[in-house]
């Protein structure tokens, strides 16, 4: 934020148009570059939240999945505030169950 933006904010004015332009560009380019339209992103967001909420209780309203881009590299960024962790599912065949991110097919099936 620049000094001008800050003063505009204090006075309840609109931010300078260059600031708005930059923000809008960053957003639209993130979508252009990833070739994901907002609809697909929304679908992905819902599915990601669904998967994550099987493991932890998350704030669905606050949950945010968005595209961010820096140096021509686009990243999918998820910000999912966790309310609390759900009791771990029994890890039958995996004594040390330390494979993060790998959905256990046995467990997935039992949840369905």
């Amino acid at each position: 934020m620049t000094l001008r933006d800050f003063i505009n904010k204090l006075l309840g004015r609109q931010p300078a148009s260059a600031t708005t332009a930059k923000q809008r560009l960053q957003l639209v380019l993130a979508h252009d570059r990833s070739d994901l339209n907002p609809e697909l992103l929304e679908q992905m967001r819902r599915e990601i939240l669904e998967v994550v909420s099987r493991y932890v209780e998350i704030d669905i309203e606050e949950g945010d999945v968005s595209l961010e881009t820096e140096d021509r590299v686009t990243a999918l960024v998820a910000n999912l505030p966790i309310r609390r962790t759900k009791p771990l599912p029994q890890q039958e065949s995996k004594p040390d169950g330390d494979v993060p991110g790998e959905a256990d097919p046995v467990w997935t099936a039992s949840q369905a």
Partner: protein, 274 residues
């Protein structure tokens, strides 16, 4: 930092969006490079809406075009139009718009390949858009200069083009920011130079200010770099030419173009506080 390669070079001048200054840059950069002693060819690859001849003041001297060269109806040197005041510069005019119906990327490669045999630098004035005209022209270039203005639509289109150039392995790709208005930038009513270079992630080859003299010079068909004009745009084009040749020329700072109290205040207001 501008990059130079040895031997003959082919540089695409493109933008995505139309009307942002490709042809003006090609004409002025072509003349400036020629004046520095580089044997320079400018190729009008905008077959649909050719204009490079007009900006160079060569429109009345065209006999043959790229079309006759490709179809074998004339030799390359017969089609090339040498500039009378700057004999290091030659234009290869665009052919008939109907050429678009059969022209292929290989044809452009053939033409550029021929030009590179007798010139140090070949500048290719690309048509707007990202369709066939762009693809044909891009297929013949090793390097690219992307030109844009500090406006959202132009920057977005430039980004598209940069993506396409990247996938084609064109390198280096450098940026020219055109029609910069220091006063609007100071008031943060125009995207800042850093904003554009950050977003597009390209090295900046040059900044060209909004300059009425550009229009005056196109009226006359005499590029600004031809007559030793000291106007801001002329200086910018000359500096770009020197950087293309590998010289380390400092960029102008648009904030420093303006003097006085208002300018100082503008600079203060642009300070990033968090």
């Amino acid at each position: 930092m501008p990059v130079t390669t040895s031997g003959s070079r082919s540089i695409l001048i493109c933008s995505g969006k139309g009307g942002v200054g490709k042809t003006t840059l090609t004409a002025n950069l072509g003349i400036a490079l020629a004046r520095q002693g580089m044997r320079t060819a400018v190729l009008d690859a905008d077959f649909g809406l050719r204009n490079l001849d007009l900006l160079l003041g060569l429109e009345n001297r065209i006999v043959y075009t790229a079309q006759e060269v490709l179809s074998g109806n004339c030799r390359l040197d017969q089609a090339l139009v040498k500039h009378k005041l700057e004999p290091n510069l030659a234009l290869l005019p665009a052919g008939n718009p109907r050429m678009l119906e059969w022209l292929k990327p290989e044809d452009m490669q053939t033409i550029v390949g021929m030009l590179r045999e007798s010139f140090d630098i070949v500048l290719i004035d690309c048509p707007a858009g990202i369709e066939d005209g762009f693809k044909n022209a891009a297929g013949a270039a090793e390097e690219a200069i992307v030109i844009t203005t500090p406006e959202v639509s132009a920057v977005r289109d430039a980004d598209r083009v940069i993506g396409l150039l990247n996938t084609r392995g064109i390198k280096p790709i450098q940026l020219v920011l055109n029609r910069v208005r220091p006063k609007m930038m100071a008031n943060q009513e125009m995207l800042a130079v850093d904003d554009v270079t950050d977003i597009l992630a390209l090295p900046l080859l040059g900044l060209v200010l909004e300059d009425e003299q550009v229009i005056v010079s196109t009226n006359r068909g005499e590029p600004l770099t031809l007559n030793g004009s000291g106007s801001p745009a002329a200086q910018a084009y000359n500096n770009i030419a020197r950087r293309v040749c590998g010289e380390d020329v400092p960029l102008i700072d648009p904030a420093k173009v303006r003097r006085g109290l208002r300018a100082k205040l503008g600079r203060l207001m642009q300070t990033k506080i968090f």
